[in-house]
Structures are given as structure tokens and as C-alpha cells.
Amino acid sequence: MRIWLPLQRLVSARYFFEFSSRILPWLGWVTLLILLTGLGWGLFYAPTDYQQGESYRIIFIHVPSAWMSMFAYMVMAGCSAIFLIWRIRIMDLFATSTAPIGASFTLIALATGSLWGRPMWGTYWVWDARLTSELILLFLYFGVMALRAAIDEPRRQGRAVALLTLLGVVNIPVIHFSVEWWNTLHQPASITKAAAPSIHLSMLIPLLLMALGFTLLYLYMALQRTQGAIIEQEIDSTWLQERLSNNTIETEGGTGK
């Protein structure tokens, strides 16, 4: 029981708010540090690729955002499942906050991918299996966001969106493999990934740093947005009003000195 107590507390909106207010500043600085290190390393110190020249460096943005686009959907699906089963409201708020962030990562992955594709493949867009399933993932995000926007009653909203998210997550592997198969049927091996040599350590380390940085960035933004959602929903509750007025007093006191 003692182990579960902190967890139980954390899922109540109030403690979640307190907890995230405490870690958000730290998280923000650590994220910034890691992202700057990874970006600097990747853009300036990592060696030039012998085949792709300098333009390969876009992978330091592209690959982490592609990873995050899927990771965010998985987090969203996990939160939705927990919300549907245990009715923990904070999970719904976290999933809500995740959707636009995940969609942005997907968009970034698509955009950087096509920018990279221009010098490499000679075209901005190919109907390649990965690109297509990433595009469909973007549509799934849009669907989730549109359904949430269309429903007004909060009780219905959260559960309906959670069910749709889970329906999507069941379909993601099916879509992925069907698209992969479709692609191999239609245009056999027009793009082989240049017989990809396994990535060298000097490129791998900044890439992993960027991946870590993106994950933290996602967490930072999602927590921030969840806090916003809590404020929006609980604005009438006493604890929040006390909390917010305390905050203003503190900052006023701070500027007064």
C-alpha cells in the first residue's frame, strides 16, 4: 500500500499539478542543455558522410522526430487505455495534451524527410512505405484531434477520443505492414537505402542525444499543456485558486524586492 500511495496521489489533478510545477523548471533546463549539446555535436562535430555529404545532418532532427511521432501515439494510447479502464482523469488530460505535440512531430518528420529527399532521391515525395504510413499516422492524429474538437460534453469527449485512439493503435501495425507490402508490389526496390552501412559511433552518439532531448522536450511540453488543461478544468476549485493566488503573491513579493 505504501508503494502505491505516491502513485495514487500523483494521478489526482492537484498533486499532479504540484508535482509537475516542481519538476518543470528543471526539466526545461536539462532539455535545453541536451538539445543544444546534441545539435551542436551533430551539426558541427560529427564527421561528414562519405556518400551523402553534409545534407545527411538533417537526420539529427528527422530521425528523433519520427521516433517521437510514434512514441507520442503510443503514450497517448496507453493513457487512453488507463483512462478507459480506471477512469483516471489526469490520463485523459495528458492524452489530450499529447495529440497536437505528436502531430507536430509527425509533421516535422515528414517535412524534414522530404527536404532531405530532394538532394538524395531527387524528389520531395516518394510513395515509399515509411513515408506513406507516417502520413497516415498524421491523419490518425488529425482524426483524434477533430473528434475531440467536435464533442462538447466533457464526459463523452474523453472516452470517445480514448476509444478512437485505441482503435487507431490496433490499426497502426496493420496499416504499416499493408503499406509496406503494397509498396514492394508496386515499385520493387526503387529506393534501397543505399545498402545502409551501420551508423558510426561518432554519428550515433549525437543522434541518441537528440533522441533523448526530443523525448524530454515532449515530456516538458506535454506536462506544460496538461497543467494548462488542469487550470482550465479546475478553475472553480479552491485549491487551484489558492495555489494561483499564492503564486502571484510570491512573484509580486519577488519583484517588490
Binding site: G143, L147, A150, R156, L163, L164, S178, W182
Partner: protein, 225 residues
């Protein structure tokens, strides 16, 4: 005394009777199917070689859109006149009732489309040998389309702009069915077996038949809560 079977049979009869009385509603998606198919040669090319290449895809895309269009009448009238609430309070499991509803819907809109498809394949110059793959694919694929759509329709029931939202939710989920359905026809026309595609479609059909009515019921309960 009414048994579960009795209720379900009565429910099925009601749905079929309603479909028969509102023949126009069931006919519209079929006409839509035919018109969309007509647009493909006009928009792309009437050349025989090209037609043969994209014919199967055109048929499947039209079937996809037609079955999506027919979804809108799945719950709207029943929602409007309060039948859905009645179904919800019936002591019979909602998923069973919805299964009969979906079956009636498929019989009135999915099955005619399957029968119509060989007729429409002919103007595209698809070879006769591909017809079994086309028909079998549609036979297995249209229930999947219906069930995926029914879950989304249940989620969007009674929402403003629900129809347009429905298309946004369902179309991405339709992708695998489209790929395997077209793939089956293309495989035969290239002298390969359609069996792998059809088995996958069959698997999707079985999975959605198993879980579909239950998920639709869940979605409906959320929406009407």
C-alpha cells in the same frame, strides 16, 4: 415469452423491413458507387491499357466511398426518433442487437455493391479471370469497411458536422482493406495467386466480426451516456 433468438430475429426483420421501405436510402450509395466509377475514366484516361491498370483500384475506391456514405444513415434516424435509447435499455445485450443491425445494413447496401462490381469491372476491361478475386475481396472487405465505419459512426452520433468528421475518422483506417482488396485483383492479373491477399482480408473480416459489434456497442454507450 421472448427468447434472445426471438428478439434478434424480430430485430433483423425490423431492420430489413425499414431498409425495404426506405429503398431510396439504400439505393443512393449504389448510384454514388456507379457515378464515382464513371468519373475515373473521365478524369484519368479512357485508354484500355491504363484502364486495366487502375480499374481494380477505381472500383475499390468507389466501394470505399460508397460504403462510407451509407454509414450516415446507420444511426442518424434511429438516434433522431429515440430508437437507440430504447435499444440501450433493452435487457438484451446491445452488441447482439447491433450485430443484427449491421447485418441488415450489409445485406441492403454491401451485398448489392458486391453483385454490381463485375458489371462495372467490364467497362474497365478487367479480365474475366480476375472477377472471382474482385468479388471475393469485396465480399470479405465490405463487412470490414462497414464495421470500422460503424464504430466511428457510433462515436460521432448526434454531433454537428458528424458526417464530415466520420470521413476523417474512417478513411485512414480503411487503408489496409483497400490495399489488400486491390492487391488481390492485381495479383491475379499478373498471373499470381490472390490467396495471400484474400486470406489477410478474411482474417481482418473475422477479427472485425468478432470485436466489431462489441466495440460499436461500447462507442454507442459512450455517446449516449
Amino acid at each position: 415469452m421472448t427468447t434472445l433468438n426471438g428478439i434478434l430475429i424480430r430485430q433483423l426483420r425490423r431492420e430489413l423491413l425499414l431498409a425495404y421501405r426506405r429503398r431510396g436510402d439504400a439505393l443512393t450509395p449504389l448510384l454514388f458507387f456507379i457515378i464515382v466509377i464513371t468519373l475515373f475514366p473521365l478524369g484519368i484516361s479512357p485508354e484500355k491499357v491504363l484502364l486495366q491498370q487502375f480499374g481494380a483500384g477505381a472500383l475499390w475506391i468507389a466501394a470505399l466511398l460508397a460504403s462510407m456514405l451509407s454509414l450516415q444513415r446507420l444511426f442518424t434516424t434511429d438516434h433522431g426518433n429515440g430508437v437507440l435509447e430504447q435499444l440501450l435499455v433493452t435487457p438484451c445485450p446491445l452488441s447482439f442487437l447491433l450485430a443484427t443491425k449491421l447485418m441488415a445494413h450489409w445485406l441492403s447496401s454491401g451485398l448489392p455493391l458486391v453483385f454490381l462490381s463485375p458489371l462495372l469491372a467490364e467497362p474497365f476491361g478487367l479480365e474475366w479471370s480476375t472477377y472471382p478475386a474482385l468479388v471475393a475481396g469485396l465480399l470479405l472487405g465490405t463487412p470490414v469497411l462497414l464495421i470500422i465505419g460503424a464504430i466511428s459512426a457510433a462515436l460521432t452520433v448526434g454531433l454537428r458536422g458528424g458526417g464530415l468528421l466520420l470521413t476523417l475518422l474512417t478513411l485512414p483506417l480503411y487503408v489496409p482493406v483497400l490495399i489488400f482488396g486491390t492487391g488481390a485483383v492485381m495479383a491475379v492479373s499478373r498471373g499470381m495467386s490472390a490467396a495471400p491477399h484474400l486470406s489477410l482480408l478474411g482474417a481482418m473480416c473475422l477479427v472485425s466480426l468478432t470485436f466489431g459489434p462489441w466495440l460499436t456497442a461500447l462507442a454507442l454507450k459512450i455517446s449516449l451516456d
